[in-house]
């Protein structure tokens, strides 16, 4: 996005004076490489505000930010201010302000290793099932069980990569081959296996949701929790391992209460750090929905010293991978 400092790009407020905040440039991966080139309406120093529309496409959780004067001698021009870090607070930008390409507020890195780990498990499971089916099919058809096992394992491993049209064709060929030989049992077995496989896929994609979200989201939370644990975090609440943390509304009421998907703790240099992870619904442009942002801002406002991480829910056409902390998070927290 080109620099638009000083020009308010918000369609709702075209004439407001603007304040510059940083945007992550392409390739900028360090929190120190913050360069001001997004415009937002200016606020008085010290002012906190609610959500501000950014270019009608994204929202800035301004509640989480303090508007402070420029540091040093460079005073902001009249009517302008710079949103920057204040002591103990961190600029909160969703996915480096690039939620299309990134998937978390820190956005340092996506996480191929997490998916690798779960993929290894998934592939292993599919190979196991495929091998069993292959051996069974070999018994029916009378060819080598080893061959059946090998083909089944390969089929299980690469199954999801096979287009459904090719899958149907191969299944039809297999059934046809058995029928041609007059091996009706085998044909029935192959047909039943195909129907069972397709049915289970269809069933799993239509599992009912609930107040805790659908099965995909629950699995995603469990995976996130498992990943955090490998990095030394202790899951205190949620993540499929315990009851979710309840944060009451203002004054301790039920109104405005928030349930956190995962609350994790880690001892960093003798201090227990807390991380809260929310899997969020996103808009078509990849930004979290206003409701999700509102919940995130409530959490952040309640615990200004803690970290809040937003991860897009699985199944929204976005990579639902959490960030790879690389220990950088711990450094940031210190």
């Amino acid at each position: 996005m080109p620099g638009i400092e000083g020009t308010c790009a918000s369609a709702q407020s075209p004439n407001l004076p603007c304040a510059a905040i940083g945007e992550w440039r392409d390739g900028a991966r360090s929190s120190n490489s913050f360069s001001p080139n997004i415009a937002v309406p200016a606020l008085s120093p010290g002012t906190r505000s609610t959500l501000l529309p950014l270019n009608t496409a994204r929202y800035l959780v301004a509640l989480l930010l303090l508007v402070i004067p420029l540091p040093g001698n460079s005073q902001p021009p009249a009517g302008r201010a710079v949103i920057a870090r204040s002591p103990g607070q961190r600029i909160y930008l969703y996915a480096h302000a690039d939620p299309v390409m990134n998937t978390d507020p820190t956005g340092h890195e996506t996480l191929p290793s997490l998916m690798t780990g779960f993929t290894i498990q998934a592939i292993g499971f599919r190979m196991l099932i495929g091998s069993a089916v292959g051996v069974w099919d070999a018994n029916f058809r009378g060819y080598s069980q080893w061959k059946g096992l090998a083909w089944g394992a390969v089929g299980g491993a690469i199954g999801p990569l096979i287009p459904w049209q090719l899958g149907v064709t191969l299944t039809a060929y297999g059934i046809g081959e058995a029928l041609e030989d007059g091996d009706y049992d085998s044909a029935l077995f192959r047909g039943a296996t195909a129907v069972l496989g397709a049915g289970s896929l269809r069933w799993s994609s239509k599992l009912p949701g609930g107040r805790l979200g659908n099965l995909n989201t629950q699995l995603q939370n469990s995976r996130l929790a498992a990943y955090l644990q490998t990095k030394g975090w202790k899951i205190r609440n949620g993540g499929g391992q315990g009851a979710e943390e309840r944060i009451p509304g203002v004054g301790g009421g039920r109104n405005g209460e928030t349930w956190v998907d995962i609350t994790a703790e880690k001892n960093v240099g003798g201090t227990v750090k807390t991380l809260r992870v929310q899997t969020v619904d996103t808009l078509a442009n990849g930004a979290p929905t206003p409701r999700e942002l509102s919940a995130a801002s409530r959490i952040r406002a309640s615990f200004p010293g803690d970290k809040v991480l937003l991860v897009p829910k699985a199944g929204q056409g976005m990579p639902a991978t959490p960030p790879l902390f690389h220990g950088g998070e711990d450094k940031e927290e210190r």
């Binding site: 780990g117 979710e244 301790g252 309640s302």
Partner: protein
């Protein structure tokens, strides 16, 4: 799947003691603290009266305990961590850890998970972090099993007897005095005061 049952309360030691005694006499229990252990030998408590520093909170929040019936065993979960200085590429280390294999430079710890104990509940007593700051306790469960619901119900019934409902919290008599005298009642010592319980 419905929302977990979480009942949060504010209570001092003297608010808690009668209820804890009543629960101990009604049901023999096993408790294990919810923290990270170096090995699978998890020390357990045999009654609520054995909870150390009852009514006091040392950190930001109250210590939490997995509560089971006496006859049930605590099964700690094995957790593999990659370690900070892994000797293999991080991606490989993470992948290995996720499938339960300890990578070079990694370590194995043990944790208590409520998900592994379908008949359990989680209990945090809460208490005073300082004379003017009372941290919330909670009775919670993620399970819908009859055993877990029954235990949860027992705790709620006996422990919160005589408590007053204020907003979404149950407040013990002495805690109520603290609330009315201007003390802070909050869920976390580091939470902002917007979360403090306010009297109606």
């Amino acid at each position: 799947m419905s929302r977990p049952r979480v009942v949060q309360f504010y209570a001092t030691k003297s608010d808690l003691e009668p209820g804890l005694r009543a629960i101990d006499s009604a049901q023999r229990l096993t408790l294990a603290e919810d923290r990270v252990y170096e090995n699978s030998n998890v020390p357990t408590l045999r009654s609520l009266a054995e909870i150390p520093d009852l009514g006091k909170v040392q950190g930001r929040r109250s210590s939490r305990f997995l509560v089971l019936r006496e006859s049930e065993r605590v099964n700690p979960a094995r957790v593999v961590q990659t370690g900070k200085k892994s000797k293999v590429p991080r991606g490989v280390a993470t992948a290995l850890a996720l499938i339960g294999i300890c990578p070079p430079g990694g370590k194995v710890t043990f944790e208590i998970r409520q998900s592994d104990h379908p008949s359990s509940i989680v209990f945090a007593a809460g208490g005073l972090a300082n004379p003017q700051l009372l941290i919330a306790g909670e009775i919670a469960t993620m399970h819908e099993t009859a055993a877990s619901r029954e235990l949860h119900g027992l705790f709620c019934k006996e422990l919160l007897r005589g408590f007053t409902k204020v907003k979404s919290f149950d407040v013990g008599p002495e805690a109520m005095v603290l609330l009315k005298s201007g003390g802070r009642l909050t869920i976390d010592a580091k939470a902002r005061d917007i979360l403090d319980l306010m009297a109606d």
